[in-house]
Symmetry: C2
Subunit: 412 residues, 2 copies
Amino acid sequence: MKSDIDRLMAEHDLDAIFVVGAANHNPAMVYFTGLAHLTDAYVLKKQGEDPVVFHFPMERDEAARTGLETKSLNEYDFEELITEAQGDRVIAAGLRLKRIFNEFGVQGRVSVYGFGDIGEFFGLFSRVRDLLPKVEFVHESPIRSVLKLARMTKDDSEIDRIREMGKITVDVMSNVADFLTTHRAKDGVLVDRQDEVLTIGEVKRRINLWLAMKGAENPEGTIFAIGADAGVPHSVGLDHQPVELEKTIIFDLFPCEPQGGYFYDCTRTWCLGHASDEILQTYQDVFDVYHEVYASIEAGKPCASFQDLTCELFQARNHPTIKQNRQIEEGYVHTLAHGVGLDVHEAPWFRSEASNTDMLLPGSVITVEPGLYYPSRGLGVRLEDTVWVRPDGTLETLVEYPMDLVLEVPSV
Amino acid sequence: MKSDIDRLMAEHDLDAIFVVGAANHNPAMVYFTGLAHLTDAYVLKKQGEDPVVFHFPMERDEAARTGLETKSLNEYDFEELITEAQGDRVIAAGLRLKRIFNEFGVQGRVSVYGFGDIGEFFGLFSRVRDLLPKVEFVHESPIRSVLKLARMTKDDSEIDRIREMGKITVDVMSNVADFLTTHRAKDGVLVDRQDEVLTIGEVKRRINLWLAMKGAENPEGTIFAIGADAGVPHSVGLDHQPVELEKTIIFDLFPCEPQGGYFYDCTRTWCLGHASDEILQTYQDVFDVYHEVYASIEAGKPCASFQDLTCELFQARNHPTIKQNRQIEEGYVHTLAHGVGLDVHEAPWFRSEASNTDMLLPGSVITVEPGLYYPSRGLGVRLEDTVWVRPDGTLETLVEYPMDLVLEVPSV
């Protein structure tokens, strides 16, 4: 968590953290600034010192509201720097960086963070190296950088915010279940009172509406995938398609706080009207594995071990798994879990790979999401909750929601 | 526009374009793929050849829907590459890139694009250089790269999409005006029928709701800033504050297609109940300058010339401008305009700087947004429309909306 940053910087021999980009939809920046209308800013944090935010003058009030020490970029006259850089804006930005680093005594090992224009910043940091001979830009592991390690565990205020998003998420799930079951079954699809066919697009439009009403944003969209589409984990469902009966519907909802704050992640699998024996059996296998794995998860163990266990449990039920064949596209084809926070997918990671050394730490927020995928049979099942590994190491599903498979709908 | 890419690549001596990141909220990627649920992908486009999208296997159907040639990243076994890279994931990603580049015969000058994790990709592209001796990673100007130059002009399908967002934007503006004027004036603020004070937060909640209903997303939030806050161009307004009467309200709305497609950008300044002579005069000056500048804008001239003209027009009305003093915080303090497209702020740029060589080209979509800011007097005024420079060089405001200043509200 945030209070670990200085310790982690010391352990990783990092003298400074330098964050670039906007203060929205930018986890590293938002981690320091909170959500703010800063369209383009820097945060500089030296080891053992408080972070400073550098902002454009038009955004001075927004910068002040971050509660951080602020510095206007107006103090470094960019037009003058462009002249000095003979018209080259990248070099001018580099010269500005040089002035900032000199003024704040930044030298040694510096790591760069932020979500932004890759080409622009690759150019800037590549070319600025010559201007800053006393700075070494460190290339941290993208999955085990100091900030990602800090973000891997959450403090109470972060848990509260994730839980709030969870309440909104399951409220909207409930709204969707209600909405679907006010429809009727006709010719294999759902229709409304005027016999109009309900489409996936209309369901998604409502989802965005309900999320907005409750104060959430849905920047990455929703998975509402039916039948064969549900058999491919990241197929999202096509807007023009009707909501079909008696097929599995994977409904995966992962909204965040407006402008890109904390996420929640939850999946239910539904079947409208009636479920075949094949669907019931596949669902039961996922349901059982979910509960067996959940019961086995405890802090202090390697994350990959829970993926291994999940594969073993599915294999014991005669399902092929990714552990047997990494190229697999039927059976259990993905990993059990991922961290959830300012990114919907973040550390810790659960891949069963020798290179994955992530341990499950108290304070983590993770998904638990086993699934089975048989696109050739037109079905997929996934069950997912977002779970807090409490400081005492026990698990708590942040917000409960029923796991019923079949939603009853009347026939016309 | 898109059909210019190969010509621009030839002019800029670029052998290949390499785009990284997700296919949402990532302009360079979305420009090629359209909006798609690709959480992490590559697009490779060699000069004179069609682009290829590299995707994860779980997202194969989403990749296929882009209409581009597709290639599964499963074909490059990452676990094997990690072993080869002795556990270093960045080097493993570099080795994958090497295989892809070799397989597709990529060499020479390559430019990197995309919106993503700066630290991760700075590390990747810095370290992959040694693995790809025949590739030169080109550092293009961040504001005049091949893709940004291509995106600077829009084809008809892009204009249609921006105009659709414009219709939603002004519809919501209209909803907000209606909503405000159903309230009543009491003790200097708006109250509802139960005498409950209307807050900025409630107005913004409604805005997000109406945008979601109409099928738009609001990833960067809304500026709804009153009085002294309106005097600072990018102050967004505080949620807990009441909607005050007789002060200028800058309402700047800039939503986009869901998951990060095309934007629209529109600002109106309102005053509830009654406007003082000072507000009326300031508003009139902005209104007049808006129309004078608008009438002067034509294709083929330097963009900076329109900023110069705007400054002259404001100075003639005795307002200080950024042309007289770059550090100014009162008067006319920003630039007249910017391009609008997959980014809310994009080329062409209108800064009055020697280094700004952008010409206004037919096919551009730009804002026109003069404003006056006097935070010390508790007021700010801005008027902004999104305007298409048509192929014949004439201007067309994409969607009209009235410029009334005063919104009448009954008193309690």
